[in-house]
């Protein structure tokens, strides 16, 4: 649905908008990428909630933020680095303890190519 509004008023009605409504197909696509199984009801809920989030982003996009640095983190830290010094790694049997089907010291998994 193209955003309408004939008047030259600078408000949410006329601000440049990308079409941000998430439909059922898009929810299913993202669910497939994230390996999530959703019921029909959940798909409906998600479509509504995700659209709401993007609606909110639209409201922000309508503001004049040219002089505002993008925020990727809310903590005021930078360059948190560690020295290149080895720590002790896990003993192999401990590392493999969470492997249901180890073989020859490796994690054996179903072949992703046979998926």
């Amino acid at each position: 649905m193209a955003s309408g509004g004939g008047a030259a008023r600078l408000d949410l009605e006329t601000a440049p908008r990308i079409r941000r409504v998430i439909d059922r197909e898009q929810v299913l696509h993202v669910a497939r990428l994230a390996r999530l199984g959703l019921t029909d009801a959940e798909v409906e809920t998600m479509a509504g909630e995700l659209s709401g989030i993007l609606e909110h982003v639209d409201r922000i996009a309508a503001l004049d933020l040219d002089d505002v640095e993008p925020t990727s983190h809310v903590v005021e830290l930078e360059n948190v680095l560690r020295a290149d010094v080895p720590h002790e790694s896990l003993p192999k049997d401990v590392a493999l303890a969470s492997a249901p089907d180890p073989v020859d010291g490796a994690f054996r998994v179903p072949s992703p190519q046979a998926e």
């Binding site: 360059n79 680095l81 493999l96 072949s111 992703p112 046979a114």
Partner: protein, 483 residues
């Protein structure tokens, strides 16, 4: 139809030779038994946090400086989401819209970007033959998982497979000389993928590209690109169109296999990694990276051309490998002012290289028995006409086989040039007497016939006479007799 031009860009993954992984303190290794270098971070146990290795940042900044890139004042890490057993977190920590470095150059090729990321674990696919369930499995070794990588992406500036392979070699030498990676293609510490397309020559538009993977040597890189270009040319010339796909190069028969589209679902849903804060290279970090750069091959080639007057291909032969470069520079220095660097360069890339090949070994100049001082002395002797050119080659062959001092070899073998002009004149006179037919022809105007007389003199003097001087004396004597 206009001729089709090749348009090639490369994507290079360089494993950094840090002691530990990118985001945890597990040691890097190659060839160890599986899963002995893991911890809760690189195995992605719940609740763990990554911490960036500062040495990886230093190395990446050195690569950025060597490639003359602009370094982003602030860059961040992103999560690249995908499901595959080589990534226990189900995402790879990489960089996305703000890479560490961009807009660089190496030689004639522009660098689009260079960014930091972590390597995936190693998976070995086990075939299903002989298995009870008939299904196949993969074995996962997390030793490699989390190794720091710099991914370098070029602009599509390469125009042939040979050019791509030769540029990739220059990149490898450059990174090797920084000392930040082992750059071993067979072991996977240097991995090169190609983005390949064709377009009518002269066109500015880019054709549809394919991505070529699994070329684990420079020879395979060249052969793989060659094969893909041939495939695309044939397709387009027959009126077809190239499909965008990823191809796997099979070195055993030079065939190209498309990867299944499922493996290509490029929908990574990147988002900023919330567990890592921004990377803001300080002035000090940038200065340290710049100051740590040794003279790199591209700069050395330039210096040899401009300051020493070498031809471009000779300069490239000498400047690329640092040991060869050091050998050449030492030899030129020992030879001193009387000998131009260009002459020394031609001896190293010409006569010496030929003599080493003749000797059968694959040693370069720097590993040979010929000391720079010895080669310098030899070149000077030839230049000063103390020995003839052909004697020079004979001495060089001895030096290659046994090493030693060229002056001593000249004495021992009696190769000193005949400097007594009276002696040489009488040998020339005898040569003319012995070759009356040739002498007659030369007099009649057939200059080529002089070769027989020169050859006679060379034989009599065992190559100890200067060719130019022999020619001059023969002509003088023939003229004198004619007159």
């Amino acid at each position: 139809m206009a001729e089709l031009e090749a348009v090639i860009g490369l994507e290079i993954h360089v494993q950094l030779a840090t002691r530990t992984k990118m985001f945890c303190g597990c040691e890097l290794s190659f060839g160890d038994e599986p899963n002995v270098h893991t911890c809760p971070v690189c195995l992605a146990h719940p609740g763990v946090l990554p911490v960036t290795n500062e040495q990886a940042i230093r190395y990446a900044l050195q690569i950025a400086a060597a490639l003359e890139c602009e370094v982003a004042p602030r860059s961040i890490f992103h999560r690249k989401n995908y499901f595959y057993p080589d990534s226990p977190k189900a995402y790879q920590i990489s960089q996305y819209d703000v890479p560490l470095a961009s807009n660089g150059r190496l030689g004639d090729v522009r660098i689009h970007r260079a960014h930091l990321e972590e390597d995936a674990a190693k998976t070995i696919h086990v075939g299903d033959s002989g298995r009870i369930h008939g299904s196949s499995a993969s074995l996962v070794d997390f030793n490699r998982g989390g190794t720091p990588l710099v991914e370098i992406v070029t602009e599509p500036d390469l125009r042939s497979a040979a050019e791509a392979a030769s540029w990739a070699r220059l990149l490898r030498e450059t990174v090797r000389q920084l000392g930040v990676s082992d750059v071993n293609m067979e072991e996977g510490s240097l991995r090169v993928d190609g983005n390949i397309s064709v377009r009518p020559a002269g066109s500015e538009e880019l054709g549809t590209k394919t991505e070529l993977k699994n070329m684990n040597s420079f020879r395979f890189l060249e052969r793989g690109i060659e094969a893909e270009l041939a495939r695309q040319r044939e397709l387009v010339e027959a009126g077809g169109t190239v499909a965008q796909e990823t191809l796997h190069f099979n070195p055993s028969d030079a065939s190209l296999t498309p990867l299944r589209s499922k493996e290509e679902a490029h929908d990574y849903r990147y988002f900023p990694e919330p567990d890592l804060v921004s990377l803001v290279p300080t002035e000090e970090m940038l200065r340290e990276a710049r100051e740590s750069l040794p003279e790199l091959p591209a700069a050395r080639i330039e210096r040899y051309r401009k300051q020493m007057g070498l031809a471009e291909d000779t300069a490239a032969l000498l400047a690329t490998d640092p040991a060869t470069a050091a050998y050449f520079e030492q030899t030129a220095k020992e030879a001193g002012k009387g000998v131009e660097p260009r002459v020394v360069a031609n001896w190293v890339t010409g006569e010496l290289a030929a003599a080493l090949r003749q000797d059968g070994g694959d040693a370069g100049a720097a590993e040979s028995k010929v000391e720079p001082a010895a080669l310098a002395a030899l070149v000077a002797m030839v230049q000063e006409k103390k020995i003839s050119n052909s004697s020079g080659k004979a001495v060089l062959a001895t030096l290659v086989a046994e090493g030693g001092d060229p002056a001593a070899i000249v004495d021992r073998e009696g190769l000193a040039q005949i400097s007594d002009s009276g002696e040489l004149e009488s040998i020339v006179a005898a040569a003319i007497e012995a070759n009356p037919d040739a002498a007659e022809q030369v007099r009649a105007g057939n200059r080529k016939a002089i070769g027989a007389i020169v050859g006679f003199v060379m034989k009599q003097t065992k190559g100890r006479a200067d060719g130019g001087e022999i020619n001059r004396l023969i002509e003088a004597q023939l003229d004198a007799r004619a007159g």
